[in-house]
Amino acid sequence: MNRLLVAGNADFLGAESRMLLEAKGYQLNSCERPQDAVALVLEDPPDLLLVEKGFAEGGDRQLIKAVVSCLQKSNIPILLALSADELANEPDWQDAYPVDDIVIKPLVPVDLLARLRLAEARMLRVFDNNPLSRLPGNTSILRAIRRVLAKEEPFAVCYVDIDNFKPYNDRYGFSRGDEVILMVARIIVNVIEELAREESFVGHVGGDDYVFIVHEEKAEEVCRRILHNFNMVRNLFLSAEDVAAGEFVGLDRQERETRYPLLSLSIAVVGTGGGRYRHSGEIATAASELKHYVKKLEGSNYLLERREPDSAGGAATNGGDEVAEVETGKK
């Protein structure tokens, strides 16, 4: 972890800092034009980013936004270099400058080095993220569920998994399986970014299981779009012959030849509204019950727990390839 992208006016870093960092093994890449820096972040992302505040008329904010808004890269630490006067003006750390740390201009080489090192160390420590998708893992998922349970407005906690993933893995191999896991992660993240950004969360339980949380009124639209996008992209991850056959042959647990339908997604949606759940464990139980039903449906589907305010068992609606009314709670 030692590739540093320096974006700012010519030589704001200073020869001394440059020499020190290079001596300490950092590979420096300097950009004076924000579009060059963004291109680098896209195509050859650095491990760390040092940005000079206010360079190129808002180019600094554009660059920071490009880095933090792309979830795949949200773990590149960003350091902002600014003057003491600029600091006194209290920049908007929340929206305009969501950075990890600051350094004060004129830069003091040893100070800069220490801050870079510490940023890297912090990065490693908070790593609950899934190594493949880089999405937050179980600790963060639990925390996110607890957070929305404490809120008054209703949220939907949605459990996603890939149907027939194991036979796919057996047939196509692990590295192809990893591609599919990553593909689904990207689809979920991108759909939520586009349709339901506010207060949403996406986590990766592990393997082919994911959780996302959105405002309850957005849940159906998000589910529908995820399934739609999945169906658009899926065939690129299957061989032409399997697509033509509409199924693939694999071995079941008893080593018998079995025909499996092609990959599909199942989403079980549990609402937090109405105060029926007090504990994150209860949500997980409700979801696994729901999942049991949605997994039985053919193709890609989502199943929404439907609450009637005063009835004991909830009915459920589903969507996707199949349109059928499914009941939960009985049998």
Partner: protein, 311 residues
Amino acid sequence: MPARPAKKQGAIMVEPELTAEQQKKRDNIRKALREVKNLPTLPGIVSKLTRMADDPDTSTDQMGKLISKDHILAAKLLKLVNSAFYGFPQRISSLNSAIILLGFNVIKSLIISASIFELMEEQDVELWEHSLGCAVICNVVAKRLEINDPEEVSTAGLIHDLGKVAIKMELPRESAEVAALVESAEINRFEAEQRVLGLEHAEVGGWLAKSWNLPAKLVEPIRCHHDPASADNEPLVSAIVHFADIMIRGLGYGHGRDIWVPPLQPRAWELLRFKAADIDEILDEVEEKLWDVKGFSLDIKAEAATTATKG
């Protein structure tokens, strides 16, 4: 799958004997093109996209539609999604899928990072129209032949002349020489490129697409668009792009002073299995869609003109 045809069946010789000097020249060109970093696109498209990116109501679909009208941005998008970093090497062959997987923010960043042609030359606009027109015909033909994913075929059509842009950017001197030779010797561009560079733009485009990790489904049609008989895995898609390239030239899109319409390879014609009546129907269908291309082209030119006066 049809058996692989003999190499010389087509109108074009594929593997001419190379002298040591020619080989050296080719190696040098390969080296020069490996450095190609940034292919600039037309100012009209970039300013339109930048405006869309700033508008909170813009959807990924809308931006995707616009990007799929620009051969250079389309190529960049595919390069990005197939790069090792994003995790789908040689897998993604359609623009819609690329957009779904990269997401809105990455596309916005892609637009910010796009550089524009310093000067909008007549030729650049022509090549852009030619690429877009070729994609339109590819789509019509692919649907007619009931190919599984017609969008994939139009994507191949859209970026089939990638090599031309790369040659122009990285080898401007040779590129000018080629253009001059086309006019003075009254030969087609293919021949002129062979004489000046010792290779032609389809081969260059093929290299580039391969080095960008694009899937074979796209690399082969790009590489074989002059000689679809040399396609090993995608003979039909290569034949469609070949056919569309020639048809759009015949319709007068994007000749770039090379006024000779190249001949259609007999092998491609066999694969497509069209009758004369089919061609009439295809022409009818295509003509209508090309009006949109023309309209869009005027739009983009107007956009570029306003940007130019503002800047």
